[in-house]
């Protein structure tokens, strides 16, 4: 009897071992916390293992172009997926736009209050952290927004470019900059910053997170399953908890 149980356990473990695949996801830094939580849930039910590489979307797309072994690209900017699609590195038909987000201005907890983007031009604001303008989508979005308000020429000399949105958050937390542009979801996970201003949806550029299977994916089948799971209620509930906007799941583009 005991032996039988042991055999069943061992064989099921062995079977799991055989089927368990390691799915590599290259994801935008802003997705760090939500995706880790979703993956932990997914690993329990599927038996597959999810491995992440979190960085600026532009950095990730460069790594993928250079042949990094990734299965899934989950960026914070549609243009980064466009670039890979043009080079034929995405599996056509798998690309969706899953999430939206909003831009906020954050300041250190102990800093002077800022109530509007216009106050970024004040002389008391010396350093403003932004994502690096070419590789970090959050920085690109912020620049477009500031240009729209015609504040960019004044603010440009104060910009401290950071290598990811999380680096922006860290710079604001440390108090070494006076303000920074991050996503609402990043501001929400930090106790050391306060949201000074939330950019209204209509004014900011549309922030949309593309998700796609990569052509050279080492584990395409397991990756497809995880992509399906990311669009499931279980996953979108987590995204919503973190403050993301879940976009209607009609295949975009």
């Amino acid at each position: 009897m005991n032996n039988k149980i042991l055999v069943t356990i061992l064989s099921s473990l062995f079977a799991l071992q055989l089927h368990a695949a390691q799915v590599t996801v290259f994801a935008a830094a802003s997705l760090t916390d939500s995706l880790k939580q979703i993956a932990a849930d997914y690993e329990k039910t599927s038996g597959d293992k999810i491995v992440f590489n979190f960085a600026a979307s532009g950095t990730l797309s460069r790594q993928i172009e250079a042949g990094a072994p990734a299965d899934i690209f989950f960026a914070a900017d549609e243009t980064k997926a466009d670039a890979l699609e043009k080079k034929g590195l995405l599996v056509s038909g798998t690309r969706t736009s899953l999430l939206g987000n909003s831009l906020v201005i954050v300041t250190p907890n102990d800093a002077a209050v800022i109530n509007s983007p216009n106050e970024l031009t004040n002389t008391t604001v010396q350093h403003i952290a932004l994502g690096e303008l070419k590789t970090v989508p959050c920085g690109t979005y912020a620049k477009v927004y500031l240009e729209k308000l015609q504040l960019w020429p004044v603010v440009e000399s104060k910009v401290v470019p950071c290598e990811s949105v999380r680096a922006v958050l860290a710079a604001v937390e440390s108090g070494n900059v006076d303000a920074g542009f991050v996503y609402k979801t990043d501001a929400a996970i930090s106790k050391k910053v306060k949201v000074a201003y939330e950019v209204p949806a209509g004014v900011a550029p549309k922030i949309s997170y593309p998700l796609a299977l990569l052509k050279d994916a080492p584990q395409p089948e397991a990756a497809k399953n995880f992509i399906i799971y990311l669009d499931s209620d279980a996953a979108t509930t987590v995204f919503k908890q973190f403050g993301f906007i879940v976009l209607p799941s009609a295949p975009a583009k």
Partner: protein, 221 residues
């Protein structure tokens, strides 16, 4: 080379030179102290001075960031008394470069001082020269090749510094971006041609500095 590339080279050279100005007085004093004096705890100071050579540069950067950040002990004092910021400014670049290249200078200068025969110094003292005069008329001139070699090495090290610089000064184009940081950013942006041009400039300047430094040290022997 484009205007931006010349600007980068000029800025990096200026920053490396500024760091030398910071290093020279401190480094000469330290080197002389280590070469000529014996005291308790000397081994600890010796080790501390050389530490940035072997420590990951980002660790040195982290320590400097902690000290010079607006909430750091030195940084908050500078900010409140002089309204001076170090982190994310050119001052941060100079401090990072100085911290990283000081060990190279001190090691070379110390060896050079040790090779100066103490008899000459004693002779000068018997003729009535004070310690400062002995140093500037006897010790330093006799050790000049080694000191100069150390200066060049420190300069070359400063030109190539990446880890501590990016931690303390960040990567602000035209303001804190140095050659190595610009190379890293160019690769990140997929601007390979730009990266290779800058890499070429770095290689040439590093080669020149080490070549001259080797020559100086060899001729001494």
């Amino acid at each position: 080379m484009s205007g931006v590339e010349w600007q980068l080279v000029g800025f990096s050279l200026r920053m490396a030179l500024a760091s030398l100005l910071l290093i020279l007085p401190v480094g000469l004093a330290l080197a002389w102290w280590l070469a000529r004096k014996e005291w308790r705890g000397k081994a600890v100071v010796e080790t501390l001075v050389s530490l940035p050579l072997v420590l990951p540069p980002v660790v040195t950067g982290l320590v400097l960031l902690q000290l010079f950040g607006r909430r750091g002990s030195v940084g908050s004092w500078l900010h409140n008394t002089f309204n001076l910021d170090v982190v994310f400014t050119w001052r941060g670049v100079v401090i990072a470069l100085a911290a990283m290249s000081l060990p190279l200078f001190v090691r070379a200068a110390r060896t050079a001082f040790e090779e100066v025969d103490v008899k000459f110094e004693q002779l000068a003292r018997t003729l009535g020269a004070g310690e400062w005069r002995v140093f500037f008329t006897i010790t330093l001139p006799l050790a000049r090749r080694g000191v100069l070699a150390g200066t060049l090495l420190a300069f070359a090290r400063a030109l190539g510094e990446f880890g501590a610089t990016i931690m303390v000064a960040g990567n602000i184009p035209g303001r804190t971006t140095t050659l190595p940081v610009a190379i890293y950013q160019a690769v990140e942006n997929g601007e390979d041609a730009h990266a290779w041009t800058l890499a070429g400039v770095s290689a040439v300047s590093a080669f020149a500095a080490v070549f001259i430094s080797e020559k100086l040290q060899r001729r001494r022997k």
